[in-house]
């Protein structure tokens, strides 16, 4: 089995995540799509790390995980505060700037 299989799997996962972001309206599900994309990138990094015999890729994936954790904390806090003021978790309802 060549390592390309991992890369194809990661591409498919990334595509599904991106499509989720484009299609879904619920802000939390959209956010989970972003997380799926980050995970797919991590898989690519780990695979390339193994392909080249260099651990830098794994370290990059580790940093991606940490940044994703920080991003999730802030993003969910934003979603919660929007929900408190607007009583909605739909990305379409946040349209105050459009008048």
């Amino acid at each position: 089995m060549s390592l390309t299989n991992y890369l194809v799997l990661a591409s498919v996962l990334f595509t599904i995540g991106a499509t989720t972001v484009l299609l879904r309206r619920n802000a939390i599900i959209v956010f989970m799509g972003v997380e799926l994309m980050l995970n797919a990138t991590n898989l690519v990094l780990v695979t390339f790390s193994r392909m080249h015999g260099n651990l830098t890729g794994q370290v990059m994936a580790f940093f991606v995980m940490v940044v994703a954790a920080a991003e999730v904390v802030i993003g969910l806090a934003i979603i919660v505060s929007i929900f408190r003021t607007r009583r909605s978790a739909s990305v379409d309802d946040v349209n105050l700037l459009k008048s």
């Binding site: 089995m1 991106a18 193994r50 015999g53 651990l55 995980m65």
Partner: protein, 273 residues
């Protein structure tokens, strides 16, 4: 170092059959679960399918000579991030379903076409590219994967590591600030409640129980105060309203010699009254 790398590169490293089996078992599960993110109606189901994808990814990391990342994947992503997602789902309503109103015309079809197009481009590029033969991480992981990763993190990437630490602290503070709720009315605690009760002029102590020191110990018999007078409020309000209270007069203490003495009570029990 480069000599070791070259030596490793010359060896032909291939994936094992077990890894192939693992990959072909996990990959369909992961893709189906990821598709659940697009098609699931309830947000909780989407969260569960993402958890499936993330745990499977942890397996794949371990299979790819990255046990440290596999553990971090389970701990950070499945344990912390997805827990946070599920927690927020509980907080802002599980049944918040998608609206079907299209704010952008034909957004659904554009989204589908863009997604499929992106998939075709990505898979096409990935499959058609030429890769070097697999080096494998046997030499890099010579003294265990976590040790080798730690050497890279605290060697080449130590500044990045510090910056990421600052980022995490900032994110925690930001989350606190963003979810902070300004208190618009003063907090009402025990002291404020007691003050309000005193100001309203109500009884500060619990009401006396019915039947205390009376000749009958029953719910409908009012208690007697220290002067032998019946206490009207000791009988339940319901009984008083219904008129089921026994008459006050028949249980009153016998004629009082003076207003300061309590003829029906023993001198010792007077303090308790």
């Amino acid at each position: 170092m480069s000599a070791a790398l070259l030596a490793a590169a010359t060896q032909t490293v291939t994936t094992s059959t077990a890894e192939e089996v693992l990959f072909w078992c996990l990959a369909p599960v992961m893709v189906i679960a990821a598709l659940g993110l697009i098609f699931a109606r309830k947000a909780v189901h989407a969260a569960m399918s993402v958890i499936v994808v993330m745990i499977s990814l942890a397996f794949l990391y371990v299979a790819q000579d990255a046990p440290f990342l596999g553990v971090v994947q389970v701990v950070v992503y499945t344990g912390a991030v997805m827990m946070l997602f599920v927690f927020v789902l509980m907080l802002i309503g599980v049944d918040a379903s998608d609206s079907l109103v299209e704010t952008i015309k034909a957004q659904r079809w554009i989204g589908w076409i863009a997604g499929i197009g992106l998939g075709i481009v990505l898979v096409g590029v990935v499959t058609r590219a030429t890769y070097p033969s697999m080096t494998g991480l046997a030499t890099a992981n010579a003294d265990s994967n976590p040790v080798a990763v730690a050497k890279v993190i605290f060697g080449d990437f130590v500044f990045t590591f510090e910056v990421v630490g600052a980022l995490l602290v900032t994110a925690a503070l930001g989350a606190l600030v963003l979810t902070h709720r300004q208190r618009l009315t003063p907090r009402i605690g025990q002291k404020e409640r007691a003050d309000a009760r005193v100001a309203a002029g109500g009884s500060l102590t619990p009401l006396p129980a019915p039947g205390v020191y009376a000749r009958h110990n029953a719910l409908d018999v009012p208690a007697l105060d220290h002067l032998g007078r019946p206490l009207e409020e000791s009988v339940s309000r319901v009984l008083r309203i219904r008129g089921q209270e026994l008459g006050v007069e028949q249980f009153q203490a016998p004629a009082l010699p003076s207003a300061t003495q309590t003829p029906t009570l023993e001198p010792g029990t007077e303090d308790q009254a």
